[in-house]
């Protein structure tokens, strides 16, 4: 695992030259050293437990909340009840994660290495578990919750585009799956908040409609998108609405459609299009909802350069959200609103190259996250501290994940030509949202 502090790549003078908000630019890492407890996962030899403990250890590592330590050789295969903690405490481990095989399934047990007390116990899977791997991911997320107070992000998936096809990947990089198998290309996947459906732009013969598809392959076209250019779909947090940009000869505007039945899993038909922006010869696109559903951030070039704006969810009160210098600030694109509503990630060109930024919505201050090569199209993990984005730092476009707290970076894909990632909500083994 490379530990690259991306924030350290920034040159403050260079940033000031590009950005009008120099007073608002904060550079630095909010992570305070010493807050990551040392944790060790006991390895096992039995195939089932070995896989589970390996997946668990990687999930905990990728939560970026722990200093991971290898378990002492003598601990291999030991379950919680007969575990000797002394070698762990000698290494300085604060927590030890062991597995426990019981009558009703396999449990993960978190032991406080100093006191010897069990600090958490969570069922990983039972004999009937439908998706054992996802079940282990959920167990890892529960362990993170028990120790750090907030669940991890192992039981999540990422949608992205490669060669005009939509693919899905587990957050640990496993289970790459081609989802979209019709003959036409697709772009811009967006998760429905129920985790069971997603929307995208389809390139069909007659134009580019917005399609909502479930993981069983059932597809429906959003009414009003059967002609012209329709791009950048986004669901409201309650799943009731879909927003997208519709293009005509006069420009692009943001429209909404409401699903009858309130956006539930058995939701009804999508309603007629309702227009939110009136851009005369301007392009308004990439709508994203605030987590409380009250506002929509979007990209508009109404002042010539495409920049970040915000409006109420009914289209009123449109205003600039990320300040910019006319003629100096680079093209701004691909906003993503963080799960707690406090931040918006996007990419903006700096010296002609896109870089990922994070805007503090209340303070309107900017933080540049990346600085080397092209970095674009960020999407938030449900923990609000990880971003997946596209980077060409190793040559071809690949997906990378950055932890904003520690600056740690990991490469998610090694496929070449991957782009437009969308991070799911937390998923349950039945594929839906927990």
């Amino acid at each position: 695992m490379k530990r690259v502090l991306v924030l350290a790549l920034l040159v403050p003078g260079g940033l000031r030259a590009q950005d009008s908000t120099q007073t608002g630019v904060r550079i630095g890492i909010t992570y305070a050293p010493g807050t990551r407890p040392a944790l060790s996962v006991v390895p096992y030899s039995a195939a089932l437990l070995d896989t589970a403990s390996t997946v668990l250890a990687r999930d905990l590592e990728q939560s970026d909340r722990f200093e991971m330590m290898s378990a002492p050789a003598a601990a291999r295969g030991q379950e919680a009840r007969n575990l000797d903690l002394r070698p762990f405490t000698a290494m300085g481990a604060a927590f030890v994660v062991t597995l426990s095989t019981e009558a009703d399934g396999v449990y993960a047990v978190v032991v406080d290495a100093r006191s010897g007390q069990q600090s958490a116990r969570t069922l990983l899977f039972d004999a009937g578990a439908r998706d054992r791997r996802l079940a282990v991911h959920r167990g890892a997320d529960e362990i993170v919750r028990a120790i750090a107070g907030q669940p991890g992000i192992a039981a999540t998936r990422v949608l992205f585009v490669r060669n005009g096809r939509i693919m899905r990947l587990d957050a640990d990089g496993a289970n790459a799956e081609l989802l979209h198998t019709a003959g036409w290309p697709a772009l811009s996947p967006a998760w429905h908040p129920d985790g069971r459906r997603f929307a995208y732009t389809a390139f069909v013969r007659s134009g580019q409609p917005i399609v909502v598809q479930d993981f069983g392959g059932r597809r429906e076209m959003v009414p009003g998108t059967d002609e012209g250019l329709n791009i950048t779909p986004s669901f409201s947090p309650d799943g009731r609405w879909i927003a997208y940009a519709h293009g005509t000869e006069a420009g692009m505007d943001i429209y909404l459609s409401e699903q009858a039945g309130g956006g539930g899993p058995e939701g009804g038909a999508w309603g007629p299009p309702q227009r939110l922006t009136a851009g005369r010869f301007a392009d308004n696109l990439s709508p994203v909802w605030s987590p409380d559903g009250s506002r929509i951030a979007f990209i508009s070039n109404r002042a010539r350069s495409p920049q970040l704006y915000v409006m109420s969810a009914d289209g009123t009160g449109q205003e600039v959200l990320a300040r910019f210098d006319f003629g100096a600030t680079g093209t701004t694109s691909a906003p993503a609103w963080s799960p707690d509503g406090s931040l918006i990630a996007f990419h903006r060109e700096v010296g002609g190259t896109p870089q990922v930024f994070v805007l503090d919505v209340a303070a309107r201050s900017l933080r540049q996250i990346t600085g080397a090569s092209r970095n674009e199209d960020p999407s938030w993990a449900p923990d609000g501290r990880h971003l997946v984005f596209v980077s060409s730092r190793t040559g071809p476009r690949e997906l990378w994940i950055v932890d904003l707290e520690t600056g740690r970076l990991r490469q998610l894909t090694r496929l070449g030509g991957t782009r437009l990632p969308a991070w799911s909500p937390r998923l349950s083994p039945s594929e839906g949202r927990e």
């Binding site: 580019q208 009414p223 505007d253 350069s305």
Partner: protein
Amino acid sequence: MTLSDTPSRAARRRAGTFLIAAALLLGACSKAPPASVAPAAADSVALRARADSLASARRHDSVTASARADSLVRARADSLARAAEAHRADSVRAQILRDSTDAAPGTASGLDAGSEAAIAATVSFELDRSDLSADAQRLLDRKVAILRLSPRLELQVEGHCDERGPDEYNLALGNRRAASVKRYLVDHGIADARLTIISYGEERPADPRPTEEAWAKNRRAEFRVTRGAR
């Protein structure tokens, strides 16, 4: 860096007139169009479906009128018509998604080789721009002449971009490039209905290499014959 050219006032006026006309058309076809439905999103399929269902509702009306129409029957006919319309729109959308490819079949231009080449000639754009250079205008003037001589000929203008801008924004830029070309042709007397536009953004590069030369080739509008001259 500017991203859009300023359209001519005439084009704005024309677009305004078109929007008003479309709004009136919508109003004429349906008694109560949802106030929020923008004319821009109205499509001919929906309009046709609505007209069909109204016609069938009217036929139903005349029958019931002769048998002393009552409002219950009318309401029922109305809801049946609405359901039929919704069903028809659904099946049109389902049919579009059943297509297994985005490639439209080629249409013979029916033109002589020289005219065919002139119609197909690609128009280039500067980085992040959609305005037309003098060269581009000369190419379009030749197309205007051919379109005038061949009044049946219809074209689709495809807007394309290089790979450097944001992927999704490039679809908007390609749309603006195609619209800019169409506006020029319409301003020079070609009927609006003979020209459709589509944007492919950076999705269909003419040259996939990451070089200045390839990017210049990729910032373009292409022309596809959708109805032949003969």
